[in-house]
């Protein structure tokens, strides 16, 4: 049970590393952006996991006398980060679209070859 308490963190590590691997190993620029999205999602998951309290409920008061609430602060940070994340991903996609128009490719190595010519 003690180790099961760490399962959420391990999932965070695995997701983080899957995203990291996509960013460093994949050549395609859109795949790299997808990797960044996964990386982001892993960090979101870590924050929300840390905010959870045993037997707690969402930090929204209702009339039914619940007294234990999960931590609202990580939720605030992640809520804004999700919208910021999609905006910055869109910016990245915009850059990729422009790269495709200028170079005719979105594969990193081909772009480097064209640059070296």
């Amino acid at each position: 049970m003690e180790l099961l308490g760490l399962y959420h963190y391990w999932v965070f590590v695995v997701l983080l590393m899957i995203g990291f691997y996509a960013v460093v190993a994949k050549v395609n620029l859109i795949k790299k952006l997808i990797g960044i999205s996964l990386f982001q999602a892993a960090v979101f998951l870590l924050y929300i996991t840390m905010g959870k309290v045993d037997g707690g409920t969402a930090p929204i008061f209702s009339g039914d006398g619940a007294t234990v609430f999960s931590n609202p602060l990580p939720q605030v940070l992640i809520l804004t980060a999700i919208v910021v994340g999609i905006s910055t991903t869109a910016l990245g996609l915009g850059i990729v679209v422009r790269v495709k128009e200028e170079y005719g490719s979105i594969e990193e190595h081909e772009i480097q070859e064209i640059d070296e010519r």
Partner: protein, 110 residues
């Protein structure tokens, strides 16, 4: 009883995910994504009651309303791709008709 429904929904989600991973055609994957979306609506509604917070049904309502957009976006993607390919084909035919002097320049790869 909510637990039984939740477990059934979770198993169905896993099955839908398997279908999405197996394919074999892209339409199977789109089907699986759509199915996954409706299962998420069910899961949200049941868990809201399981946790004793029925005011959180807003989440299920949000998914019920906008899950549809994904499928339409895919449909639009297929439609515009077909239109684009037809256009490219037409241009290629045009160039072929113009004669061998007008070679196809750096076309769309893959």
């Amino acid at each position: 009883m909510y637990y039984a429904v939740t477990i059934a929904t979770l198993i169905t989600m896993a099955l839908a995910l398997t279908r999405a991973l197996l394919g074999p055609t892209v339409y199977d994957r789109v089907l699986a994504v759509n199915m996954f979306g409706t299962k998420t609506v069910l899961l949200f509604s049941v868990i809201a009651f399981l946790a004793g917070r029925p005011d959180f049904l807003d989440l299920a309502l949000a998914y019920a309303l906008i899950n549809f957009i994904g499928v339409l976006a895919v449909l639009e993607f297929f439609r515009s791709r077909a239109a684009r390919r037809a256009e490219e084909q037409r241009e290629a035919d045009q160039r072929a008709a113009d004669g061998p002097g007008a070679q196809r320049r750096g076309g769309e790869p893959g």
